[in-house]
């Protein structure tokens, strides 16, 4: 009884505090302000990205241009995650685990059915195409480098699951990943040298809603897309091909 009373009092206190907090937040009000006379940050972004940068997708303008340095950090985090996964998953071999592998090997080594293999063959190039489309049009339509890269990695996952012998070309992957990272940093350094600040966009921006517009933004997103795609593919490759280390 006493416990229940305490619980009710606590719930009452928490509810009271929540109502007080939420009553101070103007929910449902227009907090952007007028676009002609910007007072807030969001109005500034909404004005600036179509007018000055000629980028239709405001989120892309924020992610790649206004906060480009942050995005560089995100790509680095992804790279570190892939490296960490690779180093952790190769571990010493257990006897128990070895027996498990022997017991299930026959079942798991069965080939996938011909339906799945044919379907994967049809869908794989389409998925690659969709991913490339998404990251090339990152400044025009929803989506961008990260999403397009994830779609490409899904295509590779499909192939890795349905074909037992499917292997990605590690040399090409490593080169693509390194070149994409280098390209991103190189664009940043170009901005630093030519315009005085890291990842500064060029003065030339083109027209709104054109494929080639927005200065360096599409180029950066293409680099991000390639990098994310290769990294996620490597992660999936590692996860599917865990081999116990020989003693």
């Amino acid at each position: 009884m006493f416990k229940k009373l305490i619980v009710f009092i606590l719930i009452g206190v928490i509810g009271y505090m929540l109502t007080v907090t939420f009553s101070n937040i103007p929910l449902g009000e227009n907090r952007i302000g007028s676009l002609d006379n910007p007072e807030t940050v969001s109005a500034f972004y909404l004005n600036k990205s179509p007018q000055d940068l000629k980028v239709a997708n405001t989120i892309t303008a924020i992610v790649v241009n206004f906060r480009g340095f942050d995005t560089l950090g995100e790509v680095t985090v992804l790279f570190l995650a892939a490296t960490g996964l690779a180093s952790i998953l190769y571990r010493k071999e257990d006897e128990e685990e070895e027996e498990n592998i022997k017991h299930f090997a026959h079942r798991l080594n069965l080939p996938s059915s011909s339906l799945v293999r044919t379907g994967a063959k049809i869908l794989f190039p389409l998925l690659l195409l969709l991913g490339i489309y998404v990251f090339i049009h990152g400044h025009l339509t929803p989506g961008g480098g990260f999403q397009g890269g994830a779609i490409i990695a899904t295509g590779f996952l499909l192939m890795l699951i349905s074909y037992k012998g499917f292997q990605t070309n590690h040399k090409v992957m490593v080169w693509l990943e390194s070149l994409a990272g280098l390209g991103f940093v190189g664009i940043g350094l170009y901005g630093l040298i030519a315009y005085g600040s890291f990842l500064q966009n060029t003065g030339w921006t083109g027209n709104l809603n054109d494929l080639i517009s927005g200065g360096l933004i599409p180029l950066i997103y293409i680099f991000i897309g390639i990098k994310v795609a290769t990294e996620l593919t490597n992660v999936l490759d590692i996860l599917l091909n865990i081999k116990p280390r020989k003693k």
């Binding site: 026959h106 079942r107 798991l108 080594n109 069965l110 996938s112 059915s113 339906l115 799945v116 379907g119 049809i122 869908l123 389409l126 349905s162």
Partner: protein, 127 residues
């Protein structure tokens, strides 16, 4: 022209209603059926047809998008049955038994044959 657009709009709405009925029946089947295989069957058939007709209905209402929507329909038609086929096979191989007592088990016999072949190969390799 406006009359044709109006007619197309009502055809599209009919398709959307039909599709949502099928999607609802699929969800009901997933909730109601006793085991994984029955649920897969209910879910796949109903949701493939439901999603296809909803997308087609949108295509009737907005004829500008029709080409893209037909590509989406083809994609659903390939991917949805394939994925549930793969799921069903994988769950059979993982050892999930059907709920009802089975009398006919053609795939089980095929798996046994394949397993025997692989075991023989492994034995030959070991020797």
């Amino acid at each position: 022209m406006e009359i044709i657009q109006e007619i197309l709009k009502y055809i599209g709405l009919a398709f959307i209603v039909m599709g949502s009925i099928f999607l609802f029946l699929g969800a009901l089947g997933i909730y109601r059926m006793p085991d994984l295989y029955n649920r897969l069957q209910a879910g796949t058939k109903a949701s493939t047809l439901g999603a296809m007709s909803v997308v087609l209905g949108v295509g009737f209402i907005q004829p500008d998008w029709l080409v893209k929507l037909i590509i989406i329909i083809v994609f659903i038609g390939i991917a949805n049955p394939l994925s549930s086929h793969a799921l069903a096979r994988a769950s059979y191989r993982a050892g999930i038994k059907p709920y009802f007592k089975k009398e006919i088990d053609a795939y089980g016999k095929a798996v046994e044959k394949q397993l025997k072949k692989i075991k023989k190969k492994l034995q030959n390799l070991n020797e």
